[in-house]
Symmetry: C2
Subunit: 206 residues, 2 copies
DNA sequence: TTTGTTAAATTGACAGTGTCAAGATTGCAT
DNA sequence: ATGCAATCTTGACACTGTCAATTTAACAAA
């Protein structure tokens, strides 16, 4: 086994990957404040300063985690889309369901992805910078493509994109879980009952 | 002057308030990661362990900052509402404008308010706990009251609340500022062009 | 194979941080 | 004035990110 061969080796072999998965595990277990370079290093079985050779500081590791999160995010939406009926309404509805499914099942990661992390562009190593731009554009593209069939009276389909994205994102942010001491809510309407009102209005062909 | 009299005193006089305003200043200047108990203490002119007598740890101070943020948030929406025409549509539209105005002018604080901070209810001192529940309920009440006139076919007006809140919150979260390495956007449609589509559809009297 | 160069990981150190314990100071009711 | 409780300080500890110096491993060239 390759793993047994690499067990005693000085070089880890794939430390960058191991640190990202370790970070996601720690994030899911202990929340954002528990995400620590030293803990990731310990979980990957390396010394505390080893991550410095793969990430330009803690912020870069966080950005890499967000990039990985966007990959998972896009996957969830893709799967939801592919098992839906193949018409624009069903497709967009399924993608929103995937959006909310990811926000519900990976709440910590989802909220972590849309937080400011004080990352100046030059403080991120080039590898991580490429990953985050690719992954974030890809996950946004899923929703953008699904909105394309819905023409809008002004501004092309950008208006539809903005409306749908704002609606589903706000819904996910507010109701995926009650964060801390939010106002008490009654039963929250299902998103299935919300989106059609927006779509029917936006699509003159309907 | 009271201040000069209190300058050399051992007791600060109003350290709790001073710490909260110091925290908001630091948050606006250096971002969430710069918000530190020791920095707040230094800015308030007390020793590093003084805050422990007013807040049950850093998390409680953060929650107190969020409560103060909700007060400012509600004020902004109130002012926007009061200078609008007094009909349901204009009122709700103005409140959403206030919502976005706060998110734009206090972006750091706004995003900080809607982040998870790993606050177990029993880890927050009672004073702060009362403040956050009062303040968050008050700020949510502004939007709730503005949605009340718009009856909805199912679920009373809760559906309208959920729709409008999700829409404006998502819009604020996504477009108040480009956080870090988001996908490249074209021009974002103004919220004034978005909300009416939702309202007109939701209000059968229109 | 031997050698030299580079990448990868380790060790050690330093300044900050949250938090606790113990002591000192102040304000206030009695 | 006296005692008590609230308030603040000092000191300490473990943990964190980050840097510098060093050791180890991998690999290409001779």
């Amino acid at each position: 086994m390759g793993k047994q061969n690499q067990a005693k080796r000085h070089h880890h072999g794939n430390l960058r990957e191991a640190l990202i998965t370790a970070a996601i595990d720690i994030l899911g277990a202990g929340g954002p404040d528990a995400l620590t370079l030293r803990k990731c290093a310990a979980r990957a079985g390396v010394s505390h300063a080893a991550p410095a050779h793969h990430f330009n500081g803690l912020v870069s590791l966080k950005i890499a985690v967000i990039a990985r999160g966007h990959d998972m995010f896009a996957d969830t939406m893709h799967r939801a889309r592919d098992r839906a009926e193949q018409n624009p309404h069903a497709r967009l509805n399924a993608i929103c369901q995937g959006y909310l499914e990811f926000a519900t099942t990976h709440t910590d990661l989802f909220k972590f992805m849309f937080q400011p992390h004080g990352a100046l562009p030059d403080s991120i190593d080039t590898t991580t910078g490429m990953e985050i731009s690719r992954a974030s554009m890809a996950s946004y593209g899923v929703l953008r493509d699904a909105c394309a069939p819905f023409e809008h009276d002004r501004g092309g389909n950008l208006g539809t994109e903005t409306m749908v994205w704002s609606l589903v994102h706000g819904y996910a942010m507010l109701f995926s879980t009650n964060t801390t001491s939010q106002a008490p809510f009654g039963p929250i309407p299902d998103f299935n009952d919300i989106l059609p009102k927006l779509l029917l209005k936006s699509d003159p062909a309907q």
